[in-house]
């Protein structure tokens, strides 16, 4: 279990993470979602004791990371696949990690086997592709058979096979009762993997809920109305977000479908279709983070 309490990190006068409080529970995959620059990597570095929080605490199973005598046996993490010496072989890199934490070197070969790098174990890591580097980073995370795992954008640079493999791996790890905390800036990725979502934008918590709930809460849960006299409705719905999606079709959000039905009845509007449109997770995400895009060209991003 990972617990963050009022975690804040400032770099100079730039606040990267602001007052983040959340709990990442074991036995499921918690997706950590936010646009680029939202503060995901910074949060993970603070959990691992690499960056010092400006204030607040990050605890793993009730202890700060640095308090573990053999941290790699408790917490496995892939932060940056490039964070290794390019001149060292994949195997030597892992052997050094294993030795530092009293992990049998036999585990190194197992981990290399698991991530499919056994054949290139003696090649220098600098010659690896981005995807192979990611796999090596994952091997390092799995080395100590830890109960808590953190992955920062693990599918970056992986081919489709690799992406599937990572998803399956995370599923297996969570099913074994481990805590899996995985970040991504892509909702589409999380939609397929995560059980729970933590969404942040500009360092602030935006949502922390099961995936289904995040979708359900979205105001993009719209209603589609098809009627030859659809134009009669908008004047009666000042608060709704109404888009024309066809010659006689409106997509209306922010109004319950029951009220629309009654309204049509009252106005005598003939209804050809009145149907709920579930928002995609992607849409829910866009809506949640629309105002907090750090480096974006999206119109909604506030100009500060």
């Amino acid at each position: 279990m990972i617990e963050l309490r009022e975690l804040t990190k400032r770099y100079g006068d730039k606040t990267a993470v602001h007052d983040l409080t959340l709990t990442v529970e074991p036995g499921k995959i918690t997706g950590f979602l936010g646009p680029n620059g939202a503060g995901k990597s910074t949060t993970m570095r603070m959990i691992l004791g690499l960056d010092r929080p400006t204030s607040g605490t990050a605890l793993i199973d009730g202890r700060p990371y640095a308090a573990f005598p053999h941290p790699l046996r408790e917490v496995g993490a892939l932060l940056d696949a490039k964070a290794l010496h390019p001149g060292r072989s994949a195997r030597a890199h892992l052997v050094a990690l294993a030795r530092s934490n009293g992990i049998p070197t036999a585990r190194v070969d197992e981990a290399l086997e698991t991530v499919g790098l056994a054949a290139v174990a003696r090649r220098r890591a600098g010659t690896f592709s981005l995807g192979m580097g990611q796999r090596l980073g994952i091997a390092g995370a799995l080395l100590g058979d830890p109960r808590v795992l953190l992955f920062d954008e693990p599918v970056n640079g992986l081919d489709p096979d690799g992406v599937l493999w990572v998803r399956r791996l995370m599923r297996t790890l969570a099913a074994e009762g481990r805590t899996v905390f995985v970040s991504s800036h892509l909702m589409s990725e999380m939609e397929l993997t995560a059980d729970r979502l933590v969404v942040i934008g500009k360092g602030r918590l935006i949502a922390d809920a099961p995936v289904a709930e995040v979708i359900a809460r979205s105001s993009r849960n719209a209603v589609r109305l098809r009627s030859p006299r659809a134009d009669l409705l908008p004047p009666h719905l000042p608060d709704a977000d109404i888009r024309r999606t066809g010659p006689d079709t409106l997509t209306i959000s922010g109004v319950p479908i029951e009220r629309l039905g009654m309204l049509c009845h009252e106005l005598g509007v003939p209804v050809l279709e009145l149907s709920p449109q579930a928002a995609s997770l992607e849409e829910a995400y866009m809506e949640l983070t629309g105002g907090s895009v750090e480096y974006g060209v999206r119109g909604k991003a506030d100009a500060r």
Binding site: L50, D51, H70, A83, H85, P104
Partner: protein, 260 residues
Amino acid sequence: MTSRPRDGGLPGAVAAEWTKLWSLRSTWWTLAGAFALCGLMTSILATDTVHDNTNELTQDDPGVLVTSDLVVAAIDIVQFVVLGLAILTITGEYATGSIRTTLQAVPPRGRVLAAKAAVVTAVVFPLGVLLGLTGTAVASVLMGEWGRTTLAQTLGDSLAIGAYLALISVFMLGVGALLRSTAATLTLSFLLLMALPMLLTNAGVPLVRHVGDALPSAAGRYFMNGEDSPYAPAAGLAILVAWAVAATVAARTSMRRRDA
């Protein structure tokens, strides 16, 4: 150190640093380079001595010299190759970002530094002794009758070279952890070990000269080569140890405070 440590801790951290050092080709190149440069420098100094003793001019004759003293003089230059090795164990990790992996595996900053210092010492001390012995062998062959070689003197000087190189390496390791940049640390080592001593020890003001005498390079020279020094060799050794400890403690404080 090749056996499997069952329990991590400092022994585990040392084993990891040992593995990391020897799994880089640059380590082997550096060692070869140190021997090559030491051989070259002692050869130049030895043939110069022979030349000065045998040319027409008599006023430049150095006479018969202790061969291992030539090697001590050569270390002035050779030390930078050895320092490169020590400095890269820390700045190389900052440059590649692998310091984060290191600190993930061994969170206590002091333990990481202690492990690196232990490995640097374990490699550089024997390296220095071997450089002293091989350098003396080369010099004694080239100097012939102009060189005086006794076993006791050679062993003593070689051990002193090993101790000096080990301590100055640990000192620069600490400086590397403070500065985090290979280029900056190497530049500073040139300034501190070459330029500054030359400026200060030739200064007229006594106070400035005393400061110059307390620099690690001056302390090292007085420690290795006791002649016309302001203090005993043992004091030189103590000053070197003090510099190494101070740099390591400062590095630990800095690593604890700053983000990785």
